[in-house]
């Protein structure tokens, strides 16, 4: 009945260090995200949210368990294939943004498309459209250090959404944004999912996680809770819409 998941974590665990300094950042996590689905991850600082996203994006390999993107186990890919899969299929918004300081906003956004074989002209056109979509028309030719924190954050989001990425992984993409701009970003992510992408979003703002179809809660590296939009609200008691 449901389509094959775009992302699947099967009992994926991550241990850092060893001996005295061993940290289990993630206990075996099992989670699937289907096309069209937006899943939010909540949890206290240090609960393992970024670790989960790193594993999902192939930025880090699990200590045990398996991670599959579009049905392919990331562990069985060559470095080159993994790099291509990440470029083509996965859009990643890093918690610390990771913009290239020597490239302008438009160049940062266009980069993955160019690496993927699009012409410079095409890639720039797409990058400008992405900037427009995220409400940042005026900053295309500015360097990261010439932009505000919230503007840089939106550039990082535009870079993750450009092209036809099937999996979007976003780590605190609204952290530096005011309430209204943050909501605009959530609308954009939601629209991407409604158009068929799968999205895993880490956010500490409950209001933003509420855009998700499912909200999972991490505590000390384990998924301890999951909620869906099935509670009645005061609005259901009236006759809204």
């Amino acid at each position: 009945m449901t389509a094959n998941p775009v992302l699947e974590l099967r009992n994926a665990a991550k241990v850092y260090g060893g001996g005295e300094t061993l940290v289990t950042a993630l206990h075996g996590a099992t989670l699937a995200v289907a096309p069209g689905e937006l899943v939010a991850v909540r949890g206290a600082s240090g609960s393992g949210k970024s670790t989960l996203l790193h594993l999902a994006g192939g930025l880090d390999a699990p200590s045990s368990g398996d991670v599959l993107v579009e049905g392919q186990s990331l562990g069985s890919q060559s470095r080159k294939d993994l790099a291509r899969l990440r470029r083509r299929s996965i859009g990643y918004v890093f918690q610390d943004l990771n913009l290239v300081p020597s490239l302008t906003a438009a160049e940062n956004i266009a980069l993955p498309r160019e690496l993927d074989g699009a012409s410079a002209g095409e890639a720039r056109t797409e990058a400008l459209a992405a900037l427009e979509e995220i409400g940042l028309r005026g900053v295309a030719d500015r360097f990261p250090d010439e932009m505000s924190g919230g503007q840089q954050q939106r550039v990082a989001i535009a870079r993750a959404l450009i092209g036809a990425r099937r999996l979007v992984l976003a780590d605190e993409p609204t952290g530096a944004l005011d309430s209204e701009t943050g909501e605009g970003v959530m609308r954009l992510l939601r629209a991407r999912c409604d158009a068929g992408a799968a999205c895993l979003l880490v956010t500490h703002e409950p209001r933003h996680s509420a855009w998700a179809d499912r909200v999972v809660f991490l505590s000390d590296g384990a998924i301890v809770d999951e909620t869906t939009a099935d509670a009645p609200t005061v609005l259901d008691l009236g006759a809204l819409t």
Binding site: P206, T227, L237, L240, T241
Partner: protein
């Protein structure tokens, strides 16, 4: 919640029938707070007695009365809009009372109470967010009412997150050796 002032506000643009006021109140607030017609008429009676509204002309053939604001009603309404609502005038919070009791009642796991409540609050927040997506942006009044419910639900979730963290810390401080063997 002030039905009285809501009705005065709806009368500001011009005189209206009671049933009209009920419908407009619900439309403006996005049906978040449905009124029954009895509540509307009893409030109108009180306002009339208080001199804040008056019957406008004679009742129609069905005996229905059109109400209009008096100058005193206008003054009351202006005062309402200009005076912020005090925090402490809100009703006692059953949830805060329940959690305070849960912490001190033997045999009750306060963390479970918190988690169950948070599940409920988070799920409502998701439902509200969906409902909001269906309200057109131009419908400012409704969007603002739904936003108010959303921010209130969010505050509850955030507060419960904090409660959970407090309870977790309190437990690890109290029973370190127990935690270690588990």
């Amino acid at each position: 919640m002030s039905i009285k002032h809501g009705l005065l506000a709806l009368l500001a643009p011009g005189p209206k029938y009671g049933y009209q006021l009920k419908a407009e109140f619900e439309a403006t607030t996005g049906s978040a707070w449905p009124l029954n017609i009895g509540q509307v008429y009893s409030t109108l009676q009180r306002l009339e007695k208080g001199g804040q509204i008056e019957a406008d002309g004679v009742p129609d053939d069905d005996g229905r009365v059109i109400y209009a604001l008096t100058p005193a009603g206008r003054e009351e309404l202006a005062g309402w809009f200009h005076t912020p609502i005090a925090q402490e005038s809100r009703p006692r919070d059953e949830l805060a009372i329940k959690l305070a009791m849960a912490v001190n009642t033997p045999g009750v796991d306060a963390r479970e109470v918190v988690q169950a409540q948070r599940r409920q609050a988070m799920s409502s927040l998701q439902s509200l967010t969906r409902a909001k997506a269906a309200v057109p942006d131009e419908d400012l009044a409704r969007v603002m009412v739904v936003d108010s419910l959303i921010f209130a639900a969010e505050a509850e979730v955030s507060w419960l997150d904090r409660c959970e963290a407090r309870l977790r810390n309190a437990r690890t401080e109290k029973t370190p050796e127990k935690e270690a063997v588990q």
